[in-house]
Subunit: 147 residues, 6 copies
């Protein structure tokens, strides 16, 4: 699966970054594919952050406006990136605590099953067991053949 | 306000850090005063993370167990830190969108009003306006005298 | 406002980074639009830095030469980025310590006034008050209509 | 298992950090228990690194001398930290590629088996398979009862 | 020396990054020109890493497959970068411990001699002297005219 | 040279960090021995910064007040650290551009001469040559015997 997607970036050095979790959710709601912040040192020794937002091409403009409204950025830079992605599929795997949602990915060397964070987290909370224990169980699990 | 509090630390280099948001909530529920992760380079060039958990002294042991259950840490280091903290108070400030919870802090140079993230976030979501706009409004607001 | 600008990058792992503040000033003097350093882990577990220099297109070559002279980089990579920038304007705002230079930005959701670091810093130094206090005053200030 | 151990720290801003992998090996050879580097911003906007070396108490002085000889540090700060560590044991687990060394750790919620990086790496190199595949196999493995 | 080269990137938030040193060696063996990891904050407050692999154009596909096999990445983004590189040459310099391999680089302001990490490291190990001392000696050395 | 000194720390997640260069200068003016900022991930996925200020014991209180006035910190944690420092001496070394201030340090393996950033920077600016060239010259220089 391939396709060119916009990558938007801006350097922030005067932003109250407490707003990042909210910004992040807004961006995903409005079509972002990936959001990240990276720590920087900027001019005059100011600590800063590089905000990168990979977008669905259809929502590029709305996401730029979101960045410019929610942060102190005065501009957004962007370029296109090509992409190669693996085929993936939602599956159910069995666990001592019942079936759990996971994802099956077709990698270059065969299928791999990865836990889904939110699904594991719900099990951990409900059963008051470590999340790490749920992850380990999913890694050991077989895909449930019959739904 | 002063008092010695334990600071627990562990270096993690083989942890699936996807579990950090969950760990963080667990730790606060169980008495943590502050939690942070700091990026590291560890032996053999492994990327790692320094987890630091400042605790209420009464919950030190339970929090160490949480760290040891939820991460791949094989140990926790800890030392005591003294603390100086400012007096603070929850207040209401008026805004174009109604009264908003904020905090008033008595600093060395007088009182300062700081926005409360969660309170501002709710306003931003309810009114579909930038969080930054709510923050700016709170910064400009007067404390509401009459409750 | 839009336009393609070069983004130059180089990974540094054997540089005495003490020279960064000087390099930074040189680059701005010679036409850089933005300069940042980002912490990296590089091959063999070496700590490194990613230097990024966004340039005015007219000065691209001179800036590459500056990077290659001042650091231990053996090469510079570069690509072009598009840009969307907000209209901005220098303004004066009134404060308890006299008028202060600030900037007015026309964002997607209306005008916003941002403090100018250097202007606020001068006030803080002259009046021996916290810089944070000056910032808060500017955030509360009205634009001075009559010059 | 508990005991107070020295934690040595120094801030480096004029070090050619290319030497870190070598320094790291030296420190472990001479009795370090853990070594890490953390990215910093220091005075005048200089990028820097915080070197932390947790030591076996018997080798504290030799390790301080190593830090002062190998880096540009002009001093080392240190304090003592308490420690709580989990019991652990080297075990063999079976895998499709033969038995592999792993470690069994007695955590607050029972036994957990963790892969050993170097052992898995050797398998990955010998069989030209992804290291991630070996890790997953070890996570699924049972401890070999009979040696 | 100039030429367009692919830059591959992926954001990792559920990877056991202990495997980075192995991944790094694999990538260089298979044609990578540069590899780096940069610390990130990703969605939901997850700590993450940006893996960047600059490749020889001929090995782009093999390196993408390596990234997708060895990490938990579900995709790789890539774009082309132009490059300007300095002419360089392997040379021998004389030192109190015999001749040492170094590199001579033709920079915009003349020739500069840089130490070679691995060559200096071997001297430091063999003579049990600080690596920093060998580096300083190489910086002071003259190129050996006669081979 | 040894002695216990206070190390003050605070985690900042709602601070406009643009003020760091100013804060840093203030802290040094008022008796700080070292100041650093380290990037963090804090609760709810907020990006944050760890501010550490190593102080001369006599100025501990004034520096805590400076931190609490200039940042949004509501408290400061502190503990004492022991220190081992090397004897050092200001010296002049000769260079193609005249004598330059440097420092001579008595390390565990003998004397080492380190360039002084500000002195080298002035030479680089005055002669319009790379700072890296001045550093290299100082590294090669002999101490000037006669003052």
């Amino acid at each position: 699966m391939r396709g060119a997607i916009p990558c938007n970036e801006t350097n922030l050095d005067d932003w109250n970054s407490e707003g990042f979790p909210y910004l992040c959710e807004l961006l995903f709601t409005r079509g972002a594919l990936d959001v990240s912040l990276c720590p920087l040192i900027m001019k005059k020794g100011r600590p800063g952050l590089l905000l990168r937002v990979i977008t669905d091409p259809a929502h590029g403009l709305e996401l730029k406006h979101t960045i410019l409204s929610e942060t102190t950025a005065l501009g957004v830079r962007f370029h296109r990136e090509e992409r190669m992605t693996l085929a993936r599929e939602a599956i159910m795997v069995s666990s001592p605590w019942g079936d759990i949602l996971a994802k099956k990915v077709l990698g270059p060397q065969g299928e791999v099953i990865y836990p889904e964070y939110e699904a594991c987290r719900k099990i951990a909370e409900a059963h008051k067991i470590p999340l790490a224990m749920v992850y380990r169980a999913v890694s050991r699990a077989e895909e449930r053949k019959e739904p």
